[in-house]
């Protein structure tokens, strides 16, 4: 056996292995900045998406995709909890590029309400509070750039939302923020 391979070497490797595992465990999660969320805490309780806002304070968070309903909370799988506990709005204003024109299906889930627009035209909404539910919103999109706007609110209790898209006839949906053959962000 080589001189360097001994009990001390084994212990060193063990310690380095444990240290590496710990570093891996505690390294803060990172996702690419694709979609910006503007989170606005409201002074008053919120019960409708279209009620008058009374902003208290706000912050901005970048996420890679709009997949933000986990454990009955507004959570990202890697970033953890996003937003405040209650009574806040989230605004999204994002431009995306359609590579293949045609009819698109948007699956928007929310707890509580939301309103979504494309190129200034409302495609879907749910005004009041509710448990997490998805609804389908159909829209005709031409090839080229489009503007997606969404406002979401959380009153109290459980929270979260998600936005998925798929061209009609496609095999599976993608989360908004995930590039596909049909759409790029």
């Amino acid at each position: 056996m080589r001189a360097w391979w001994n009990k001390n070497t084994v212990l060193t490797l063990l310690l380095v292995g444990v240290a590496a595992a710990i570093l891996l465990r505690i390294t803060p999660p990172f996702v690419s900045d694709v979609v910006e969320l503007k989170i606005v805490k409201n002074k008053a309780p919120i019960s409708r998406i279209d009620q008058e806002r009374e902003p208290d304070y706000q912050r901005r968070v970048w996420v890679d995709r709009l997949d933000l309903f986990h454990k009955n909370q507004l959570r990202h799988t890697k970033l953890g909890q996003i937003g405040y506990t209650d009574n806040f709005f989230i605004d999204i204003d994002h431009t995306f590029e359609v590579l293949e024109g045609g009819e698109y299906r948007f699956l928007i889930g929310s707890d509580d309400g939301f309103v979504a627009k494309i190129d200034g035209e409302e495609i879907c909404r749910f005004n009041t509070d509710r448990p997490y539910r998805k609804q389908t919103c159909m829209v005709e999109l031409s090839e080229g750039e489009h503007r997606f706007e969404m406002a979401y609110f959380q009153g109290g209790g459980f929270s979260g939302f998600s936005v998925e898209y798929m061209p009609v006839g496609a095999e599976r949906p993608h989360f908004f923020g995930e590039d596909s053959d049909a759409v790029q962000f």
Binding site: V18, Y57, G80
Partner: protein, 496 residues
């Protein structure tokens, strides 16, 4: 200059270790400025000693006497109205006078625990004769999150561990000093063990030390099976050891009874009429009061102990846990939390007993390795490479296994902090196993082995720092909590 530093390292290294320990345990130990866990009982008891109020309690008096002494010496609460403390055994937070400082009540536990690292250092040093091994393994005692959070409180375990480590140090001292064992050594060890059981009765596990000392003392007679000589020695060593234990326990019980001069709120704890008669006649210090008071106190302890609930893991919020899960940190207890929302972000200050996984898992691994070593020697008849070191491994493993075996027989609900005593046995055992495995390298002061121990200590300190928000009550948000929730078996619950 360098030579001078090297020559005096025997003194400055333990001094440095003590300084670090005092900083880690002592910094801002008056926080939180509210009671948590059993402080509601022990602070009440400590104040009763100060005010001369009669009371009885589950645990023997020494720990609470020292908690009271800390308050009397360093409390700074003299101007506050603490009369409510005397009317109850469990002080409600709302009965704590505004602005009360906790530094006095927590003083004994915090600083005795911090100082006990010197005994720990001394034990490892006396056995290994290596400063770097002693200093390295002392880091386990200093940087364990569970020990730190639990000792920085007016609770009994920090105080008891001080006396346990003192007794262990004396045990190691008399076995390593190279002189024959005489009766005074049994007696002094008896005094120290007496102090341990006068804090909490679970310290009775240290009675095994007498068996070990006697085994070393009589090794030649045991090997030759000279039973007459052994019996003769037993006839003197047993009284030499047991009488000091009884004397210490009884003396402290006397102090407890003598201090109970006043009956407040008709709380008599079902005391006998003879005892109450003495107290009412201002003779709580009389021998008659001591006799009847002792019987009443012991009866109360037994009745109280019988009345403690059993573990019910189906009960919502059950903090108790099975002893079998303790070595891996099951289950953590949230002693106290304070929630604050700043700019919409919820931050919580947790005071929570949680294992430093590097320390606890290493201790568990050390016990597994030790048991393997002991089995290989006694079951498979494999030779040992260092007899002396092997017997130290055997001694500390025996203490650990005996404590855990005894605990497993107890029906009442038990908590993770009941593992702190065997944890310290396990830390010492880990130092012994390390020295056994790396025997030649330790003797030769091999640099690679030193670096490995240094790396281990860095890991211990790093992980301690990572979990320190739970030990010092530093505010963290939910994501920071989840980042520290490493194992499901710890059963930690976030506060939202």
């Amino acid at each position: 200059m360098l030579q001078s530093i090297a020559q005096t390292r025997r003194f400055w290294v333990p001094a440095l270790v003590l300084l670090v320990s005092l900083l880690v345990y002592g910094v801002n130990y008056g926080s939180p400025k509210s009671m948590f866990w059993d402080e509601n009982y022990h602070i009440t008891s400590g104040q009763k000693y100060i005010d001369g109020t009669l009371f009885m309690e589950l645990h023997p008096p020494l720990g609470k006497l020292l908690i009271g002494a800390g308050e009397a010496l360093f409390g700074g609460n003299e101007d506050l109205d603490k009369r409510a403390f005397n009317r109850t055994d469990y002080l409600d937070g709302s009965d704590v006078p505004e602005g009360m400082s906790f530094t006095g009540f927590r003083f004994a536990s915090t600083f005795l625990m911090a100082t006990s690292v010197l005994f720990f250092y001394g034990i490892v040093w006396r056995i290994t004769r290596r400063t770097w091994v002693a200093a390295g393994f002392s880091a386990l005692l200093i940087f364990d999150n569970a020990l730190v959070v639990h000792s920085r409180a007016a609770m009994l375990e920090g105080i008891q561990l001080f006396f346990i480590l003192a007794a262990l140090y004396y045990f190691v001292h008399i076995l390593t000093r190279g002189k024959p064992l005489r009766l005074p050594q049994y007696a002094w060890l008896g005094v120290l063990v007496g102090l341990v059981v006068s804090v909490k009765l679970n310290g009775a596990v240290l009675l095994l030390l007498f068996v070990m000392v006697w085994g070393v003392d009589q090794w030649d007679n045991i090997k030759a099976w000279r039973w007459k000589a052994m019996l003769q020695r037993l006839a003197t060593t047993v009284p030499a050891a047991v009488l000091p234990i009884i004397a210490v326990f009884a003396s402290l019980l006397y102090v407890h009874i003598a201090l109970g001069e006043n009956i407040v709120g008709n709380k008599t704890y079902k005391a006998s009429e003879e005892y109450l008669e003495e107290v009412r006649a201002d003779r709580s210090h009389s021998l008659r009061a001591f006799y009847h008071g002792s019987l009443d106190n012991i009866r109360y302890m037994l009745e109280y102990s019988d009345g403690v609930a059993r573990l019910d893991i189906c009960k919502p919020g059950e903090n108790g846990s099975y002893a079998i899960g303790w070595p891996l940190g099951n289950k953590s207890i949230n002693y106290r939390w304070d929630k604050n929302t700043v700019n919409g972000e919820v931050k919580v200050r947790y005071i929570q007993i949680i294992a430093n996984p590097i320390v606890w898992f290493s201790v568990a691994a050390g016990i597994v390795l030790s048991i393997g070593l002991i089995l290989s020697r006694f079951v498979y008849g494999n030779p040992v490479k260092d007899n002396r070191q092997f017997y130290w491994v055997l001694a500390f493993t025996t203490l650990y296994v005996s404590y855990m075996t005894a605990i497993l027989q107890i029906d009442r609900v038990m908590y993770l902090y009941h593992y702190l005593v065997p944890l310290v046995f396990g830390m010492l055992n880990l130092a012994m196993v390390f020295t056994y495995i790396f025997r030649d390298d330790v003797i030769a002061n091999r640099r690679h082995t030193m670096i490995n121990l240094g790396l281990f200590v860095l890991l211990v300190i790093g992980v301690f720092a990572w979990f320190s928000p739970f030990s010092y009550g530093l505010p963290i948000n939910e994501d920071q909590f989840e980042a520290r929730n490493w194992f499901e078996l710890w059963q930690m619950n976030v506060v939202r």
